[in-house]
Symmetry: D2
Subunit: 284 residues, 4 copies
């Protein structure tokens, strides 16, 4: 590999199993020479098989509930101890909505669930940044990445209060990115990833048809979890030091598409008498 | 006037005194033929002079804490009773951050305050929409407007967790706008207003210099509270029926500016030996 | 009506027949008390029936090729003469691509045609603004609107070099909006309108299926030409004085949608064994 | 180095001297294992010292006017010949405005110059893409990058018709990115770089004060040409395969800033009696 992260240390939040984007990031970061601590909530540690990943990458696992400032303080303390010094990168890949899980639609939200959605999926990001900054835990020119989704900009049926959570996640990246950049030269960005068939993603209703649509809309097709991990590596590397406070689409072009020929062709089949929308010789 | 709101009924949240944008909206809506209920939290009713406005516009005041679903239910019930039927427009002009008030910086947030900032400044908007929809309180082609600020897109020092709150406010406008549009033809938008010297705004540190800067950056100058009210009237009128899920900048052009000659000219004066940046004959 | 444009004078470019958005704008502006000059290229004057509209609205027609500075100078001179003074609003509704007409795809452009697309569809806007400003033809707080399309932000198959033209049109609105605002308090905006079945629009291949898709994606449905005219009136009125340099979506919410249930439901029918994507009781 | 471009071949447009971003990209690409052809217009070859760069990186120089399809065809033919096969990356770093050079302001444009600005600074990008595609000159998963500037989104006094050119450049990246992605898996992006003191940039009036302002506004400071080259390498590498049709800000955070404390502090000094806008203990 390219040793892009040689000598760098980090913390990776949110790996559950080998479908997780965070899992792929850990594998790629390891290949690129990084060392890191893996962390997740205790219940995920039980249900997933994070220990395999830890073994494979020579990493330690530290359980932490990312909504608990106390857990985060412990996580950062222990991590600094393990590495005998500061870290260089952090990945935040955390999201959950009880409203989605319990089938509450967006016009019938339970507001306690809502506050939890925000706390788990967005505020946890602020908490980890605030704890890291107070402990001065990240080296200058360090890099922090959180995973987001285009629902922060455009409404998708069924994505529910997770859309609001992603909006606030991206806002935190900007707001904290300003302060952490100004004072410690640390950059903070979000990656807006294609819909991905992770364990979390596969629970969303109708996601199969949506993924078919985005695949046909995106000129390069949907981005996979593996490709997302590759991209994340570039953002952790020293080659992207002046990119900060950005939401970066990693989606095969989907975000810049209004309508593709392939998607329209498929859509058109839904009618009994499809309109003649294409001529293969004259594509554009 | 133009009778743009003749026969329309509504609810106006957030008028405190004659500097408030909501106050101006009430005055203009009245001039345009609308009837409405005024509402604010009990403490604001004591400190402001909303009764003057109520008298002047022939309106009733109903106290409500917009974070309380119960209060909102009562408010909508009574409003429908007063008008003997559904309403046509709602203005949301509510925002408050205890972190700002108590001088907690964004890298030293109190998370209970943060949840309150979100609850008061953003979630209140969802609550009012959810209550309105459950009670089927708004006529088809009704219009809902909330006031936002460019901090939702770009970080301004000192705006603190209100930036996150405005992000989520705009996300709620989109997410609920989809559902309310689809089912009831009701539109929901936010107006992103110039910084304004309201009672709330004047508490922000250094706002004087910021307002000077935005005034010089904006080709038309900052938008006043009065002008914001005019713009809001167009969004409540039947002439904007197909505008929804939008964040609409009302700021004299500020949001589309990178640098104006006037602002740069002033900035340049800050140096002991200013660079020669302009020639009056050759402006652009 | 509301007399929103009482006493205001203007120029309306681009009306061809009663399907044209510019035609509808003329009708509505007339109803709101405005007087205006109608203009189009000589060939369109022959093929359309603009004289009917002129009669109905008591307007004069002045032929002008909007790519000709000389024609534009004549147009403004005569208009100022007709009204005995300056005007208050201008509508630009002009677009044409020879590459589209001649079936040249975007990866096989004829560059002479391309320069013409830009000249007709975008640069004409700059020319009319530059001529107007040099002649000081527009009153303070006047308003200029051009019609755009979301292809300026997101690629749609088949829209071809018109996407580039709309991008530059919106850039001109910003760049000239800064100068005209700063010096004469004149505002310049673009309206990004739903795909519309005008005579121009109906020539685009596959537009029927696209319009079906956008209709189902937009919570309020596509915006019609009539509704676009209503919206344009608000932008010409004095109620929107501080809105400038903006691209304003008038599209029933389409621009803020990622995926609607209705569109996905239809899309899903295109498969032999559709996925179960919805439950009517549990929509969102 | 990291061998990120090992085995990759490319073409680099626009290097003039060692201040040029394209020059830095060539140096970094060479360090990362790439081979490439350098190209520029004949006149630039005379005034610059491109031969030094060619020697240092073992590259050949092929003169080409990027507005000439014929020159571009020759360039691609010779390049494919030199490498005995297809290439993997292209950098477009070309821009020039005669209106700027001749001191024509944006409200007094010469339209022949304007067409040249567009032809040189934007249409050249389409021409190179169209020639490349017709010759099938780029391998699958190849990467094309053009350099842009935030003037495409926000107006800066004095940037003049280059703002329109950058808008259309970014539109071309999207429009062609869709087709080239769909058919050949080739990605096309623009980098929106901080204002940079290149030979081209240093000619812009008042650029010193602007660069001071953006330096203070950007939490990480302005991005240098060197850092831009690093970032470009990541976009040419295989780690960013699903990023396409994007405009990527490389600007130390400037694009996401509304106002920084440092910039406001400096601005504030411009007044005789500065407002007290900061307390060092309470920064944010």
């Amino acid at each position: 590999m390219n040793n892009l992260l040689k000598g760098k240390k980090g913390i990776i939040f949110g790996a559950l199993n080998d479908k997780s984007i965070a899992w792929k990031v850990a594998e790629k970061a390891y290949e690129q020479g990084a060392e890191f601590v893996l962390t997740n909530v205790p219940v995920s540690l039980r249900f997933g098989n994070l220990h395999e990943l830890a073994e494979k990458t020579g990493s330690q696992i530290i359980a932490a509930d990312a909504t608990s400032v106390k857990d985060l303080e412990n996580l950062f303390d222990k991590t600094l101890e393990i590495f005998g010094g500061k870290i260089d990168f952090v990945l935040h890949s955390i999201g959950m909505s009880l409203n989605v899980r319990k089938g509450r639609t967006y016009d019938n939200l339970n507001y306690e669930y809502y506050q939890k959605t925000i706390d788990i999926s967005a505020l946890s990001f602020h908490k980890m940044l605030q704890v890291a900054k107070k402990k001065d835990a990240i080296n200058e020119w360090g890099s922090v990445v959180a995973l987001s989704y285009i629902a922060a900009q455009r409404t998708l049926y069924g994505y529910n209060d997770m859309a609001d959570a992603k909006s606030i996640l991206e806002s935190i990246a900007r707001s904290f990115g300003y302060i952490y950049g100004r004072e410690k030269k640390i950059r903070i960005n979000t990656i807006s990833q294609s819909p991905t068939m992770t364990t979390a993603g596969s629970g969303v209703k109708g996601i199969g048809a949506l993924i078919d649509f985005t695949e046909r809309m995106s000129p390069l097709g949907n981005a996979t979890a593996d490709e997302c991990a590759d991209y994340t590596i570039t953002l952790f590397s020293d080659l992207t030091r002046k990119v900060t406070m950005q939401n970066l689409y990693h989606d095969g072009g989907f975000s810049s598409m209004g309508m593709s020929l392939r998607a329209m062709h498929q859509y058109n089949k839904s009618f009994d008498e499809p309109e003649d929308i294409e001529q293969p010789e004259n594509l554009d």
